[in-house]
Amino acid sequence: MTTIPMTPPARKGAFRRFLTDLAREPLGLAGAIVVAALVLIALFAPLLAPYPPAEQSLTDALLAPSAAHWLGTDEYGRDILSRLIWGARVTMRTVLSVTAIVGPIGLLIGVTAGFFGGRIDAVLMRATDVVLSFPSLVLALAFAAAMGAGLGTAIIAISLTAWPPIARLARAEALVVRNADYVSAARVYGASKWRLLFLYVTPMCLPSVVVRLTLNMAVITLTAASLGFLGLGAQPPLPEWGAMISAGRKFMLDQWWVALMPGVAILITSLAFNVLGDALRDILDPRHTRD
């Protein structure tokens, strides 16, 4: 139902308007709430977790969910809920780090290519297409294998192949924006190339890049969990969700909750990012409205 506003909204009300728009999308609002909750959980993990995440108690090993341990315990008697809460930190750190690396790089490459065009565009887009044609998870595996497993390696490995979609999108946006009247006007007034690039073109590409980055967070969550599952992500005793599933696999026939719970956490996180990203696209980008 979003319509293209005839006059640009006043700066002051922009954020409030955004919140009203978001409230009209029940699914998107739910996604936003879950993401906000996950950030809070990650920030306040020490306060929220009922037990220390690495505290072993072999007498309490593999307990079914109960009042004392809401989600049960794992093979070392560690409280699964507490480990999930601490694991939110690992996931959020991975997602935010990759986004912080990939967002600016993708944006810069894409906007530069689209704005300048010609040979610069050809070279940058060739490089983008080459990386885009790589199987990213497999390459991340090989990279993690060579660098040694760990959270830092996982973040770098995922980042290496995650920037091309952002670059492509930013380029497509820049191609349209660079010919807009207000850019021509600024050019006539003598604005320098770099001024045009950073102050006039780049800001206009931001909304769709933000949408794409949000949707990307779902993919990053899943890739990071896959690396963790294969033992190439954050190392023990850090509670990483994918690694927790891998550990729970051994007991899946009798103590199914050990493998089940972390997967639910991954699913909820990834779903929240996807739903929020869809809603943001509908709100921020009038061309992609669903109805």
Partner: protein
């Protein structure tokens, strides 16, 4: 018929991508913190023996010469020996590849058979409950960790319900009974006329294939819906409707032929995605394919095998992308020479 400029351009892109892939694996191989010579000769080797091995492995040469040798070896199909098995890596991969191919092919068939009708239905019944259900199915498919989904599937359908065969490709007592022709047990058992083995193999492959298919199906549903909506907004659809074409005729005579080209592009991209998904799915289902081979090699630090598997999966992935573009150019009249 085919735009030659587009073809050569795309072919150049493919060759460049392959070259970069090989260069990247070379760099990864050289980044290793471990000493490749020491790994072979052992810690107790004399300095002379160590040096001799270093020369034999070509590691005394400048990097650029090492790279040259790496590329020429690869072009001759020499990917080195896997420390894990003692066999040439290429030989190992040739045994593992059909298993992955079998799994991914069945998965792509399932995902298309389910995804395309669901996407069509969602578009034709837009904003009804059908569309909402399709949207939720697709959203969850985009968000679910495929390895976890596989574990849950095993618990429910194998352990609790006993409906399917468990991990592996066939039950243990059926193993090695059919002569390998294609390396794909479902096909080999049919060739050998052993329908009991075929049935058993199907009961093993169906769950991993369906779990793997789900993520691809989510993507295919979403894209089919978008393509169809795009067509529904076209004038020719309104014209056909005005002439009184039924919904079925509209769908099969007008819309499907028009989105077929786009669907083929999606097919190739999804297949590439499935190959990646197969890497983690194979671990869960003890499926002896490329993914399991690669992960086993990873765990024991057999970098030769890891890089070779990366290259093989990468090549298949890139060739699929290439074929998808070419198919698009050949089938879509708008991209032909006249343009």
């Amino acid at each position: 018929m085919l735009n030659t400029r587009l073809l050569t351009g795309r072919l150049g892109q493919l060759v460049l991508s392959l070259f970069v892939l090989i260069a990247v694996t070379f760099v990864i191989g050289r980044m290793l913190p471990t000493d490749p010579v020491g790994a072979i000769v052992g810690e107790l080797a004399s300095p002379e023996a160590y040096e001799a091995m270093r020369v034999r492995m070509g590691l005394d040469q400048p990097l650029i010469m090492q790279f040259f040798r790496y590329v020429t070896d690869l072009l001759q199909g020499d990917m080195g020996v896997a420390a894990m098995t003692g066999n040439p890596v290429l030989q190992d991969l040739a045994i593992a590849a059909p298993a992955t191919l079998e799994l991914a092919t069945l998965a792509i068939i399932i995902s298309f058979v389910l995804g395309v009708p669901l996407g069509l239905a969602a578009a034709l019944r837009r904003d009804t409950w059908v569309d909402q259900v399709a949207r939720i199915i697709s959203l969850v498919g985009h968000s679910i960790p495929v390895f976890w989904f596989g574990i849950i599937g095993l618990i429910v359908f194998y352990a609790w319900l006993g409906l399917i065969g468990g991990p592996g490709r066939v039950d243990v007592f059926y193993e090695g009974l059919v002569p390998p022709v294609t390396g794909m047990i479902t096909i080999d058992s049919l060739i050998a006329g052993r329908f009991d083995i075929f049935g058993n193999a199907m009961s093993h492959i169906i769950l991993p294939a369906m779990m793997l298919a789900y993520a691809a199906m989510a993507y295919i549903t979403r894209m089919t819906r978008a393509f169809t909506l795009e067509q529904l907004g076209q004038d020719y659809v309104t014209a056909a409707r005005a002439k009184g074409a039924s919904q079925t005729r509209l769908l099969f005579r007008h819309i499907l032929p028009n989105i077929a080209v786009q669907l083929i592009t999606i097919l190739a991209i999804s297949y590439g995605g499935l190959l990646e998904g197969a890497v983690v799915t194979e671990i869960v289902f003890s499926w002896p394919g490329l993914g399991q081979y690669m992960t086993n090699a990873l765990l024991i630090g057999d970098i030769n095998a890891v890089l070779a598997a990366t290259i093989v999966i990468g090549i298949v992935f890139m060739v699929l992308n290439f074929l998808s573009d070419i198919a698009y150019a050949m089938l879509d009249p708008r991209t032909r020479e006249a343009r």
